[in-house]
């Protein structure tokens, strides 16, 4: 997808005026937060589980090569294939090769953010292969020609009314006057259409929430069961996963699972947890003939051993998005690349380059709510600040801003001059504030006074007055 993060401010301007989007986002603000809080409160050991989950993933990241190799050899032992993709374009090529070899016309897909990172759908279409998204949210945005605006709820920006219109437009073979008022009727309609697609598909592509090194298993968690049909009906199953999804054992996975759904949707467990271990064996009643895992790096191994390594603990639960005031205000698309919200503002610069994503780490108030809820205890604000440091080092900070900052710092380091300078400035502001004690407009603070007044200084500095003997 085209990266629009450089025009972040423009995206924001548009998003704030999009009534449908704003209506949809109000729902996020109330819904997810309550559910997560209730789930966390209901489990006395929740905080300890978070520590444990963090430690498991930290151990993996320290020994990533070891666990990936073990995973690969297990998959091979089970009769499957592991493909190592350094870049998104390598990974696309691998998918295409497999599809072509088996003469695939139609591909069903479970939800996968890696597929978004690979821009897989457009690529397959170019080669005459039809991708069909089978997760309801993904199906909706595929109809709309959009990208996910949330990592677990891809169509969270779309209202029910919009879905109804989209279905009317797309499903022209159905009677025009069919009842579509209830969400259930829309769900049924999508199900019936997808059922047909499941049967026709030659290849099924899924993501992976976990890869298990000890067994060579890939695991997806879903609420719709679409993933099961996607991977078990077609002849070929391709798993798209990034490197850091591996964990040592099934036990480790089940530990992390205890924080995943609770943090994401407030469920104790997602409805379906599907384990795939290799292709169909002789004794299996069904399953694919071929099982492939494409392991995507795409910049992640460069994060190892850096101040951004902690980000690789992320399990894509979406809690940081759900609790972010910026995300609530602008929705996911304004961020301008695959991953929105706090996790995206840390990850996107690493994968897509800080030059193009320079806005993202800066567009945060550092309120810290993301870190407060992140099940993997990723210090998101700290890493956003690290990106700002990189920008400052590389002189990517806008020049005017840099000049102002430097000027301010110069004064802040010289208390005597600082006192004199600020005395003059504050006296001026105080006078300008008048009896109302506020300024409605200020030439050099236009960004502030555009939307709010500037409270005027009371007059005089505290430090000077105190040291002159004043006490009230």
């Amino acid at each position: 997808m085209e990266i629009t993060s450089p025009s972040f401010k423009k995206n924001v301007h548009k998003a704030l005026r999009d009534e449908q989007l704003q209506q949809a986002m109000r729902h996020v603000r109330s819904n997810f937060i309550q559910k997560r809080a209730a789930a966390a409160d209901a489990l006395p050991e929740f905080e300890a589980l978070r520590d444990n989950a963090r430690d498991i993933k930290n151990h993996v990241l320290e020994n990533l090569d070891l666990y990936l190799e073990r995973f690969e050899s297990k998959v091979t032992e089970n009769g499957g294939h592991v493909h190592w993709a350094a870049t998104a374009s390598d990974a696309r090529g691998m998918v295409l090769d497999i599809c072509r070899r088996v003469n695939a016309k139609s591909v069903t897909k479970g939800k996968s953010m890696i597929s978004e990172e690979m821009e897989l759908n457009g690529f397959l279409e170019k080669y005459g292969i039809t991708p069909v998204e089978t997760d309801l949210g993904e199906y909706i945005i595929q109809l709309r020609g959009e990208h996910p605006s949330h990592i677990i709820a891809p169509s969270v920006h779309v209202t029910m009314n919009q879905v109804r219109d989209d279905f009317r437009k797309a499903h022209t073979h159905l009677p025009k006057d069919r009842p579509m008022d209830e969400p259930e009727s829309l769900l049924k309609e999508a199900r019936a259409i997808l059922r047909q697609k499941f049967m026709e598909a030659d290849v099924g592509i899924t993501g992976a929430n976990f890869l298990i090194a000890e067994t060579g298993t890939s695991i997806i968690v879903t609420n719709e069961g679409n993933g099961d049909l996607t991977q078990s009906l077609p002849r070929v199953h391709i798993v798209l996963a990034s490197l850091e999804k591996v964990v040592p054992t099934l036990e480790d996975m089940s530990q992390i699972m205890r924080v995943l759904a609770r943090s994401a949707t407030g469920q104790e467990m997602s409805v379906y947890t599907t384990l795939s271990t290799g292709p169909r064996r002789a004794s299996d009643p069904d399953g694919p003939d071929e099982y492939h895992v494409i392991l995507l790096d795409n910049g992640r191994s460069n994060m190892l051993g850096t101040e951004f390594q902690d980000m690789l603990r992320c399990i894509r639960c979406g809690a940081c998005l759900n609790h972010c005031p910026v995300y609530h205000a602008i929705g996911g698309h304004a961020y301008g690349w695959v991953y929105p919200g706090p996790m995206g503002s840390v990850l996107s610069p690493a994968l897509a380059g800080i030059e193009k994503t320079a806005n993202l780490p800066n567009a945060s108030t550092f309120c810290g709510r993301c870190e407060e809820v992140c099940p993997m205890r990723i210090p998101l604000p700290k890493m956003l600040r690290h990106w700002r440091e990189k920008e400052f080092e590389k002189h990517l900070t806008p020049p005017a801003q840099r000049r102002n900052l430097k000027l301010w710092a110069w004064f802040a380091k010289r208390p005597g001059l600082y006192r004199t300078g600020s005395r003059v400035a504050m006296r001026m502001l105080s006078l300008m504030g008048g009896s109302k004690k506020r300024l409605r407009k200020l030439p050099f603070a236009g960004a502030w006074t555009e939307d709010r007044d500037l409270p005027a200084p009371e007059g005089g500095s505290f430090v000077s007055q105190w040291n002159a003997g004043r006490r009230t």
Binding site: T365, L405, A409, D453, W466
Partner: protein, 260 residues
């Protein structure tokens, strides 16, 4: 502290913060009064300017470290360092040590300094064991939890407890008092539109609370919310919590009086 609170006379360095120093001296006087009432001797070093957050959060570590050294040098002689701001106290307490990680010359020194730093209200209750204040104000108030104070320093129940002891005060909680007001330092001017959307949601919650006075413990957030409330012609007035706790409410509110 197994023995409970530290009630001995102590020398406290008041780090008043740049915004209080320049915009709202009343908060400084209120903080000093509260500290003195809690048995502390208050010192205000003239060489204080700012804690360095504008530089730190803009990625300028070098300037931040120089400013930090200056603050440490000016304040390390005191038994405690107290700031009427969760955000600046958080900077001194939590982030200064990060700045000097692995620096053999400074790391021990900064650790010793940071261990003595506290946010004003939580210092009064948690360290000095203050249970109530001698103040009076007939007002229905609502309290906003500023982010750094809440999440970095655990300031949440302390201000509510002391407020409840002010004669005449009724507390009415707003919806989501723990949600950011959209200030974020330079964020408010770099991404004005987002900041405005966030503060608008906040003022709407404040106005629905039914309170007539908004309180918080951080000048940055207060100026942001006051600026928005005044622009919206709301009747809700705004003060720093220290003013109310110290009974120093004769100065006009932050941003002036509310519209009636």
């Amino acid at each position: 502290m197994e023995t409970g609170y530290d009630t001995s006379p102590r020398r406290v360095g008041l780090f008043v913060t740049c915004l209080v120093d320049l915009f709202r001296p009343t908060v400084g006087f209120a903080a000093a009064r509260l500290l003195e009432e809690a048995g502390c001797e208050v010192y205000v070093p003239v060489s204080q300017t700012c804690c360095g957050q504008p530089a730190y959060n803009s990625g300028d570590r070098a300037d931040t470290a120089e400013i930090a050294k200056q603050v440490i040098e000016a304040f390390e002689e005191f038994d405690y360092i107290v700031a009427p701001s969760g955000s600046c106290a958080g900077m001194l307490k939590k982030h200064y040590p990060e700045l000097f990680e692995g620096d053999p010359k400074w790391s021990a020194r900064v650790e010793a300094f940071s261990a003595k730093v506290h946010e004003l209200v939580s210092f009064l209750t948690d360290i000095r064991g203050v249970e109530r204040v001698n103040a009076k104000l007939d007002a229905v108030v609502t309290y906003h939890d500023s982010c750094s104070g809440l999440r970095e320093l655990g300031v949440k129940d302390q201000p509510r407890k002391l407020l409840a002891s002010v004669e005449g005060v009724t507390i009415k909680e707003m919806k989501d008092p723990n949600v950011c007001c959209g200030f974020g330092g330079t964020f408010a001017v770099k991404y004005t539109e987002v900041s405005n959307a966030i503060v608008s949601a906040k003022t709407s919650d404040i106005k629905s609370s039914g309170a007539e006075l908004l309180l918080a413990g951080d000048m940055g957030c207060l100026m942001n919310m006051a600026g928005k409330l005044r622009r919206e012609k709301s009747s809700v007035e705004v003060r720093h919590i220290a003013e109310v706790l110290a009974g120093m409410t004769s100065a006009p509110p932050i941003g002036g009086k509310g519209d009636r």
